[in-house]
């Protein structure tokens, strides 16, 4: 019975993903990504990972996608929402990605024991919480440090250095000239 929601969510996700990579408009592509992420969240829900689905919506759609849109706005010459996005090399890329999919699909189909029914009940949020501070506490701590580092790193990388490089020459003006200008 779960097949219908699964199939639906899968279709939506796939279609959106294709639009992400093929859309000629960058903003549209970002928006299609949002839909793909939503589809993925639905899939998570169908798979019994409700906590994960929530996190997905919050962080990915709410955070990442927003950030991306902002990024687009900052860095592209555009007028309004009409942001062109070119793409080339379709053929070779298509060949490679199709080949990759074929290999993966073949590997999956060749692996036995993948069609069994679920072995146990789905984990609850409580279970996840226990796992995070219990078995996987080290990873948990490390990831938090990583997040901090990433945040700091992003700030440092992206900040504007003042003064701007081409304005530095003003500082080399001798003190006498400054005094002269001040008079």
């Amino acid at each position: 019975m779960e097949s219908i929601p699964f199939g639906l969510a899968a279709l939506v996700t796939l279609f959106s993903a294709l639009r992400v990579v093929r859309s000629p408009n960058l903003v549209h592509a970002a928006l299609w990504l949002g839909l793909a992420l939503l589809g993925t969240a639905a899939l998570f829900a169908v798979l019994g990972a409700s906590f994960l689905a929530g996190v997905q919506v919050l962080l990915y759609i709410g955070g990442v996608m927003t950030l991306t849109l902002v990024g687009i706005m900052i860095t592209r010459r555009h007028d309004g929402l009409n942001v062109p996005a070119e793409s080339i090399g379709h053929v070779r890329a298509g060949v490679v990605s199709v080949a990759l999919f074929a290999v993966l699909a073949w590997a999956i189909s060749a692996t036995p024991g993948l069609d069994a029914a679920p072995l146990g009940p789905d984990a609850t949020t409580q279970d996840i919480g226990h796992a995070l501070v219990g078995t996987h506490v080290l990873a948990f701590e490390v990831v938090s440090m990583l997040l901090l580092a990433a945040m700091l790193g992003a700030i440092v990388i992206a900040r504007r250095k003042d003064p701007a490089p081409h304005a530095v020459t003003h500082l080399h003006v001798p003190a006498t000239a400054v005094r002269e200008a001040a008079e």
Binding site: I108, I128, L147, I157
Partner: protein, 99 residues
């Protein structure tokens, strides 16, 4: 819905992401493709988590999400920097290694 069908779906998403990675000329568009690929990976984690039981699948998916978020943040910062020095975010413009 079986594990194998979930995995095949994830593979398809991943491949689409690869296609985007290879095709797109805008840096941000490349980041979008990378997002897709990360999502496919999370899907694999969640699938195994559902079919094998236990919290491990979702836990690792959470970690992956955290990592991906960090990656996007830093990536965007880099894109901004790139934009400042090259005036555009075309990936082709990163030619400094070219003779």
């Amino acid at each position: 819905m079986t594990l194998s069908s979930c995995l095949v779906l994830a593979s398809a998403l991943f491949s689409i992401g690869i296609y985007g990675l290879l095709t797109r000329r805008q840096a941000i568009a490349v980041l979008l493709s990378v997002e897709l690929m990360a999502n496919a990976a999370n899907l694999v984690f969640a699938s195994f988590g559902h079919f094998r039981g236990g919290p491990t699948g979702q836990t690792f998916a959470l970690f992956a999400v955290a990592l991906t978020v960090a990656e996007v943040a830093v990536g965007l910062a880099l894109v901004i920097l790139f934009y400042r020095s090259h005036g555009d975010t075309q990936v082709d413009l990163a030619r400094e290694l070219r003779q």
